[in-house]
C-alpha cells in the first residue's frame, strides 16, 4: 500500500460522512431554494428567485437571531471569564477537579429538560412570585426576550468556560511573576499578559457559542412562548406547518450565508488581534 492510498483510506470515513451528511443535503437545499411550493405542500422544481425576493418577510426572525446571538455570546463571555480565571489561576488545586466536574454536571441532563426547568422558574409561580413577595409586583419573565437570554446563557455557559479555562491553565505562571517583579500592578499584568494570552480560548469559546446560537431553535420555542422567534423557529414552521419547502430552503441558505459572512469577518478580526499581539511580544 502506497503512502498515498493509505492517506485516502484513512480519510475515507470522514470524507464519506462529510459528503453524505453535509454536501449532498446542502446541495438539495440549495436546489430546492429555487423551486416553488407544491399546491398541497412540499416543493416542485423550478428556476425562480421568488423565494429569495420574499426573504424580507422573515426580517424579524433574522433580526432577533442577529441581536440575541451576539448579546448572548457576549454575556456568556463576561460571566464565563471570571469563572474560568478562578478555576485556572486562583482555585486550590485540591478542589480544582471537583469544581471542574461541577461545571460539567449539568451536561449530564439533556438541555431540553434543563430548559423546561426554566419554564417553572420564570413562570408566574417562580421568580416573579418571589419578587412579588419583596414588593416588586407585576413582573413577567416567561415568554420574553429576557427569558430566552437567560436560557441561552445558562445552556451555553460551559461551552464558553472550558476553552477559556484551558488557555488560562496553560498560561506560564512565571510570566505573571516576572510582570509583578518588574513592578506591574495586578490589573496591568492582567491586561498585558493574562488577557492577550487567553485570546485563543476566548476566540474558540465565542465561536462555539455564537455558531450554535445562530441555529438555536429549542430555547426560543420553550422560553419565548412562540413570540421570540429565531430563524431556526421560522425554518421549523416553514417545513412542518406551512410546508413551503422552497421558501424554507431559501431561508436556510440565507442563514448559512449570514453565518459564513459573520464568521469570516470574526476570524479576520481575531487573526488581526493575534497579529498585533505578536507585534507587542516582539517589542
Amino acid at each position: 500500500m502506497t503512502h498515498r492510498t493509505r492517506n485516502w483510506l484513512l480519510l475515507a470515513p470522514a470524507g464519506t460522512w462529510f459528503l453524505v451528511m453535509l454536501i449532498i443535503p446542502l446541495s438539495v437545499v440549495f436546489i430546492f431554494s429555487f423551486g416553488e411550493r407544491a399546491p398541497s405542500g412540499g416543493v416542485v422544481p423550478a428556476f425562480t428567485f421568488e423565494q429569495y425576493a420574499n426573504l424580507p418577510a422573515r426580517w424579524t426572525a433574522f433580526k432577533n437571531t442577529m441581536t440575541l446571538a451576539p448579546i448572548g455570546t457576549l454575556l456568556a463571555l463576561l460571566i464565563a471569564y471570571p469563572l474560568a480565571y478562578f478555576l485556572a489561576v486562583k482555585a486550590n488545586p485540591k478542589w480544582k477537579t471537583i469544581l471542574l466536574v461541577l461545571v460539567i454536571v449539568p451536561f449530564w441532563t439533556s438541555i431540553l429538560i434543563r430548559s423546561y426547568a426554566w419554564i417553572f422558574l420564570l413562570g408566574g409561580r417562580g421568580i416573579p412570585a418571589l419578587l412579588e413577595w419583596v414588593g416588586l409586583e407585576g413582573i413577567r419573565l416567561i415568554n420574553t426576550p429576557f427569558a430566552v437570554l437567560v436560557g441561552i446563557i445558562y445552556g451555553y455557559l460551559p461551552l464558553m468556560v472550558f476553552p477559556i479555562y484551558v488557555s488560562l491553565d496553560k498560561l506560564d505562571k512565571r510570566l505573571l511573576e516576572a510582570s509583578s517583579d518588574l513592578g506591574a500592578k495586578p490589573w496591568r499584568t492582567f491586561l498585558q499578559i493574562t488577557l492577550p494570552l487567553s485570546i485563543p480560548g476566548i476566540a474558540t469559546g465565542c465561536m462555539l457559542v455564537f455558531i450554535l446560537l445562530m441555529g438555536e431553535y429549542l430555547i426560543p420555542a420553550l422560553l419565548g412562548g412562540g413570540k421570540v422567534f429565531f430563524v431556526g423557529n421560522a425554518l421549523v414552521d416553514l417545513f412542518l406547518q406551512s410546508r413551503n419547502w422552497a421558501y424554507g430552503s431559501a431561508v436556510a441558505v440565507a442563514l448559512v450565508a449570514v453565518m459564513l459572512i459573520t464568521v469570516t469577518f470574526y476570524m479576520r478580526l481575531i487573526s488581526r488581534l493575534g497579529a498585533s499581539r505578536e507585534d507587542v511580544s516582539i517589542m
Binding site: P39, S40, G41, A57, G123, G225, L240, N244
Partner: protein, 385 residues
C-alpha cells in the same frame, strides 16, 4: 412468565404522563418541541429492546402503533386490548394535522392507525397516503349508528377511508376570576379584551386553522375564508394583538392551570378538562361562529401491521369501550350506541353537547383551509413578526 417485571406497568406509565400534564409539562408541548413523536415511531420500529414481549403475541402481531392527539384515549382501554389480543399499543402524540401530513408526505412510516380530522382526509386520499377501509374487518362499525354530520367526511367519492372517532368544537376558555366572574361570548370580545385588561394573558393556538379562523370570525367573516382581502384584515388584527399575547401555543393547559394565562383559544375536550378541575375556567363558543370538527380513525397505506390496525379500530368502536374513551377525553361521540351508555351528567353537559343555537353558526374546516398557501404563509408571518 415474567411479563412486565422489569419495567413499570403501562397504567402506571400513563398515570405518570397524566400527572405531568396536570402539572406543567404536557406531552403535546414536549413532543412538539422535540419531534419525539416521530422519533419514537422510528425507534419503536427498529430497536428490538423496545418491543414488547413476543410471548403474548397473538395472530395480529405483537404490537400496533397509533399516531394520535394528546389526552385522547383511556389508557385502560389499550391495556384491555393488549390483554385480549396480545398486541401492545404504542402511542405517538402529534401537535397538528399539518405536522402529521408533513411527516407522512415526507415518507415517515411505522404507524398503523392514525386520527385525521375531517378536512384532511380528502388530501390524504389525493396524495395516496391512506388505505380504503374493509368494513368486514370492522364488525363494530355500524354506519347507521353515526350522526352523518360527523361521519360523512370519512368517505371520499363513495369509498370509505375513515370511521368517526369523536367530534368537538373550537371555542375559548376564560378564567372568569379576572373578569368579575363573567365569561365572554364572542371572538370580538376575545380579541378586544386581549388588547385591553387581559393584555399579556391571552394565548392563541400555534395552528393556522383556528388562530386565523378566530381572527376572521372577529370581523364577521367565515372561519374558512381564503379571500385575500379578508385574510389581510385577519392578519392586521393578529399583528396588532401579538404584543398583547402571552404565548402562541397549542399547549395551553399548563399556563391556564398555573394562572399565568387567563384566556385561550381552546378545544372543547381541553375546555371540559380545565372546567372540571378549575370551575372558574369556563369554556364558551364564540357567537360569531368558529369551528366544529370530527376526528376519524384511518389506516395509512404504509402500515406494515394492517390486521392489528383493524383490530384496534374495531375494538375502540365497541360502544362499551368507546364510552370509556369519552369519559377520559371529554369529547362528544357521534355514535348513538355509545351516547346511550353515557351517564346523564355527560349527556346533558353543555360543554360536550352545546345548545343547538350555539352550534348553528359553527363551521366545519374545509380541505382548502388547511392547504391554502396564503393562510399557511400568513400564520408563519404572524409568528415571525
Amino acid at each position: 412468565m415474567t411479563k412486565d417485571i422489569d419495567h413499570i406497568s403501562k397504567t402506571e406509565f400513563m398515570e405518570k404522563l397524566e400527572s405531568y400534564r396536570k402539572g406543567s409539562i404536557t406531552r403535546r408541548h414536549f413532543l412538539n418541541v422535540t419531534g419525539l413523536g416521530a422519533a419514537t415511531a422510528v425507534l419503536g420500529a427498529t430497536v428490538p429492546g423496545l418491543r414488547p414481549s413476543p410471548a403474548f403475541a397473538g395472530n395480529i402481531g405483537d404490537r400496533v402503533v397509533v399516531a394520535t392527539w394528546p389526552n385522547y384515549h383511556d389508557p385502560a382501554n389499550f391495556e384491555a386490548f393488549t390483554e385480549a389480543t396480545g398486541a401492545h399499543v404504542q402511542v405517538n402524540v402529534f401537535g397538528s394535522n399539518e405536522e402529521m401530513l408533513a411527516k407522512l408526505q415526507a415518507g415517515a412510516t411505522g404507524w398503523d392507525v392514525y386520527v385525521p380530522t375531517n378536512y384532511t382526509i380528502e388530501d390524504y386520499v389525493k396524495e395516496g397516503l391512506i388505505e380504503p377501509l374493509d368494513t368486514s374487518k370492522l364488525p363494530n362499525y355500524d354506519a347507521s349508528a353515526f350522526d352523518p354530520r360527523y361521519a360523512e367526511a370519512g368517505s371520499v367519492d363513495g369509498t370509505l377511508y375513515a370511521v368517526p372517532k369523536n367530534w368537538g368544537s373550537t371555542g375559548m376558555a376564560v378564567n372568569t376570576k379576572h373578569n368579575d366572574g363573567k365569561p365572554i361570548s364572542s371572538w370580538k370580545e376575545f380579541f378586544d379584551i386581549t388588547m385591553d385588561k387581559f393584555s399579556g394573558r391571552t394565548m392563541v393556538h400555534d395552528y393556522q386553522l383556528t388562530t386565523i379562523g378566530s381572527a376572521l370570525n372577529y370581523h364577521g367573516y367565515s372561519f374558512n375564508s381564503v379571500d385575500e382581502k379578508e385574510l389581510a384584515d385577519a392578519e392586521k388584527l393578529l399583528i396588532e394583538v401579538k404584543p398583547h399575547l402571552f404565548a402562541i401555543t397549542s399547549d395551553y393547559q399548563p399556563s391556564m392551570r398555573n394562572g399565568d394565562a387567563w384566556l385561550t383559544i381552546c378545544w372543547s375536550g381541553d375546555g371540559k378538562q380545565l372546567n372540571t378541575d378549575i370551575p372558574e375556567i369556563h369554556y364558551v363558543l364564540g357567537k360569531e361562529g368558529g369551528e366544529i370538527w370530527s376526528d376519524y380513525f384511518a389506516i395509512p397505506k404504509s402500515s406494515e401491521r394492517k390486521e392489528a390496525g383493524y383490530a384496534l379500530i374495531n375494538f375502540l368502536l365497541d360502544p362499551q369501550v368507546n364510552a370509556k374513551e369519552v369519559l377520559a377525553h371529554g369529547y362528544p361521540t357521534a355514535d348513538s350506541r355509545t351516547f346511550d351508555l353515557l351517564p346523564d351528567s355527560l349527556k346533558n353537559d353543555p360543554i360536550l353537547f352545546p345548545a343547538q343555537e350555539l352550534l348553528d353558526p359553527l363551521e366545519f374546516g374545509a380541505a382548502v383551509t388547511l392547504t391554502d398557501p396564503n393562510r399557511a404563509e400568513l400564520m408563519a408571518r404572524f409568528k415571525s413578526a
